[in-house]
């Protein structure tokens, strides 16, 4: 994958497959600590201890259409290449939380990429799900919550163009 926003899209699609109704993506770019962290938390069905242990094995998957599960192991590899790592916390019935860390200045750290495109792709594909996106960088904080859009209408009944226009109107940081 070219950049981290694509890994995030992939991991969030896993959360959706796990039945999540609310997914929070939190990115923190801390230049003082030379650290980039990405947290993804969902309220999906979660995993028991045994499944969590196997989740990072590329030859383990809970899916039935294929025999490999590369998403998490690729994300961990991207973190490890940049002096970081990936932690997975999960409880059956309660959801899953992932935290990936990266040395910000590491030459092999993948660029963050276009998070706006990732968030819009998620909303278009799954308008029924609540997405919360938080981004912190150098003391600036941006927060976008699709719950705010619900007061403007039913996202699941809108066409793609209406959804994108609504997101643009309500997410000033989006370029």
């Amino acid at each position: 994958m070219e950049d981290l926003s694509l890994h995030i899209l992939d991991i969030v699609e896993n959360s959706i497959d796990a039945g999540a109704r609310k997914i929070q993506i939190e990115i923190c770019e801390d230049l003082r600590k030379d650290l980039l962290s990405i947290e993804i938390a969902d309220d999906g069905k979660g995993m028991d201890e045994g499944t969590v242990k196997k989740a990072l094995d590329p030859f383990f998957t809970t899916k039935t259409v294929r025999k490999v599960g590369l998403g998490l192991s690729l994300f961990r590899e991207a973190a490890r290449q940049a002096n970081g790592d990936l932690e997975v916390q999960s409880k059956a019935g309660q959801g899953t939380k992932l935290r990936a860390t990266f040395q910000y200045s590491h030459i092999d750290r993948k660029p963050l990429g276009d998070m706006a495109k990732t968030v819009i792709t998620l909303i278009i594909g799954h308008p029924e799900i609540r997405f919360v996106y938080l981004h912190r960088k150098d003391g600036h904080k941006s927060r976008f919550d699709t719950d705010k859009l619900k007061t403007k209408g039913d996202l699941t009944a809108m066409n793609a163009l209406e959804v994108v226009n609504l997101v643009r109107k309500n997410w000033p940081e989006l370029r």
């Binding site: 694509l6 992939d10 590369l70 998403g71 029924e128 066409n159 793609a160």
Partner: protein, 127 residues
């Protein structure tokens, strides 16, 4: 047969609701872009981004864009399925931005499937 959970039922209800929208005229067509790890790594986000630009350029209001997981044919990603009302779904493979543009203009808007990019006609419906 495994027991259905509340989440499973909610997913089924959402799928049915979206299919009903297609039948009731809120959507004349549906384009599903496959977004498994394989699809994303192969460029499926660019495909949906191109579709969004086309929807905007052409001011199209009756096409549902959506995403689904891995379709099981990872080596042919990016893939998308086009469903027109009351017609068999067509699955397209090895997509690029140029190919999806042509598919959108000729199949989604024009009603003529682009056979040279299609893997199969009448494959599984991706509701």
């Amino acid at each position: 047969m495994p027991k259905l959970s509340i989440e499973d039922l909610e997913k089924i209800s959402e799928r049915v609701r979206r299919t009903t929208l297609l039948r009731e005229g809120a959507g004349r067509a549906k384009v599903t872009v496959h977004m498994g790890t394989c699809g994303i790594a192969a460029g499926s986000r660019k495909i949906i981004d191109t579709l969004l630009r086309l929807v905007e350029e052409q001011d199209v209001k009756d096409v549902i864009l959506t995403t689904s997981g891995c379709a099981g044919l990872c080596s042919r990603e990016p893939m998308a399925t086009v469903e027109l009302l009351q017609e068999a779904p067509v699955k397209y493979v090895d997509l690029t931005e140029d190919k999806i543009r042509r598919i959108f203009l000729e199949h989604v808007l024009g009603g003529r499937p682009v056979q040279e990019y299609a893997l199969a006609v009448g494959s599984e419906r991706t509701q």
